[in-house]
């Protein structure tokens, strides 16, 4: 750029460099309360431009009316109070429930992994002799329990003593937790063909392989869960049944007031559903949040009137 062109620009810009725009002038200009014909010279061009931008609508600007209105009516129907009352709170409850029970399942799986890991270490001789023996016994107790399907925690305690009995009990709880988690991820209604590919857990894989496949594992786990439930809930038998106690691996023996585990079957899936639901309804969600924001604003306006 040359000096001449700079000077040319400055010459023509200078008169407007300091064009005063008080708040009142700006408001009048921007709200259309300063017509171009009445505006002082420095503002006339702006007023004219703003008048044009806020001018009368043209036919082409409502060309999509039929399509948009029809779609909007359908959207309103979908967002009607009946739908909201029936689905939104339920989905929120499911979400919370899923989180809670997923956490429980994760805790149970952790206990199971620790128990199995300890048993494996004992079997390979990686633990000190005393400990290895006790955990080997525990593993044996579990194996016995698995085969008979009748042993329970109290029997383990009565047959063993000291560290052994504690190990057996905790491993049995671990098996219970593992089975509970397994059943949660492999409900009976889901076909093995659809369950297996999504199962990437080494613990589950080991469990499945050790019981000859999904069907065998499922049968085994149902036995473990029902057996443990029956014995663990002995002090609260009135509230205890096989279904309700499945979701309480960490609370064995306590009153059963939590929902059944069949709901957390959707533990992983339910959480994913919730997430995808939120994502898929981004538009509505945004509108909803917009709505609430504007509604409060609107309420304020209404209150002001």
């Amino acid at each position: 750029m040359t000096m001449d062109s700079d000077s040319y620009g400055e010459m023509h810009r200078r008169p407007f460099r300091d064009t005063p725009f008080s708040d009142e002038t700006a408001d009048r200009l921007l709200s259309g309360r300063l017509p171009a014909l009445d505006a002082p010279e420095p503002y006339r061009g702006l007023a004219s431009l703003f008048e044009a931008a806020s001018g009368a609508p043209t036919h082409g600007e409502t060309a999509q009316k039929a399509t948009v209105v029809a779609a909007a009516m359908a959207a309103m129907e979908a967002a009607s109070p009946v739908h909201s009352a029936a689905t939104a709170p339920l989905s929120r409850r499911r979400s919370m429930l899923s989180k809670l029970l997923t956490a429980k399942a994760a805790a149970a799986a952790t206990v199971a992994v620790l128990g199995l890991g300890t048993a494996a270490a004992a079997a390979t001789g990686a633990l000190p002799i005393g400990t290895a023996n006790s955990h080997a016994d525990a593993g044996l107790a579990i194996a016995t329990s698995n085969s008979s399907g009748t042993n329970n925690g109290s029997n383990g305690h009565s047959k063993n003593s000291g560290a052994n009995s504690t190990g057996a009990a905790s491993n049995q709880h671990a098996q219970f937790g593992l089975c509970t988690a397994f059943l949660a991820h492999h409900p009976a209604s889901v076909s093995p063909a659809t369950s297996v590919p999504s199962d990437k857990s080494k613990t589950f894989s080991a469990l499945i392989s050790s019981h000859g496949g999904l069907a065998g594992t499922s049968t085994y786990c149902q036995t473990v869960v029902s057996t443990t439930t029956t014995t663990a809930g002995s002090g609260d038998s009135a509230d205890t049944n096989g279904t309700e106690n499945q979701g309480k691996p960490a609370d064995a023996g306590k009153p059963s007031s939590t929902p059944p585990v069949s709901t957390p079957n959707s533990g992983g899936t339910g959480t994913a559903d919730t997430a995808s639901g939120g994502s898929s309804s981004t538009g509505t969600g945004t509108a909803g949040s917009s709505s609430s924001g504007a509604s409060s604003s609107g309420s304020g306006n209404s209150a002001g009137h």
Binding site: R17, F21, P42, G45, P57, A79, G293
Partner: protein, 190 residues
């Protein structure tokens, strides 16, 4: 839209599910909505306007307020749609879309014409809106468009954009000075 009771009755009917009432709201507000999008994202203006109405329909039953509040609410949705659009464009293209940095005139459109010529030209309102956007930074353009086309006051613009009123006032002041300067230059050179 006739203000006051007429708007309230139309809004109430629309909230009750009357199609004619929703159509009336559309007739009244869509032209300005469309101009806002034409100025900021011309290639997706129609789609964004339609999405805004769908979003509004989803929350219409719970809306409470007068016409000015409705206008602010509608443009809040519109602004969020626009931000979503920009975000998508940025994500997919890997860089900032041209829509975001100002406007590249569509083929056949001349955004350099003066305001007087714009007024009498075809599609003058949309051309004027695009001219405003083309002369200002994105932030400044957003403020001016929401004020002029959206019909929002300064506080409402602050709410829509999630900024403080003082920030909006500064943006607005700088935008007006810049517009005045550019237009005066066009008048002199044109």
């Amino acid at each position: 839209m006739a203000s006051g009771e007429a708007f309230e009755s139309v809004l109430a009917a629309a909230q009750a599910g009357a199609e004619w009432a929703f159509a009336a709201l559309y007739d009244d507000f869509n032209p300005r909505l469309l101009r806002y999008f034409v100025a900021r994202a011309p290639r997706a203006a129609d789609d964004l306007a339609a999405e805004t109405w769908l979003g509004a329909a989803g929350g219409l039953r719970t809306f409470v307020g007068d016409e000015q509040s409705f206008r602010s609410w509608l443009f809040t949705i519109a602004h969020r749609r626009l931000v979503d659009y920009w975000r998508d464009q940025t994500t997919s293209a890997g860089d900032i879309p041209s829509d975001m940095t100002g406007l590249a005139p569509a083929p056949g459109e001349d955004l350099t014409q003066g305001p007087e010529e714009i007024i009498v030209g075809a599609e003058s309102a949309q051309a004027a809106a695009r001219k405003i956007a083309s002369l200002l930074s994105p932030d400044q353009a957003e403020v001016i468009l929401l004020r002029v086309i959206g019909g929002l006051d300064l506080d409402q613009v602050a709410d829509v954009l999630g900024k403080r009123p003082g920030t909006i006032r500064v943006l607005q002041h700088r935008a007006l000075k810049k517009l005045a300067k550019e237009i005066s230059l066009e008048d002199v050179t044109g």
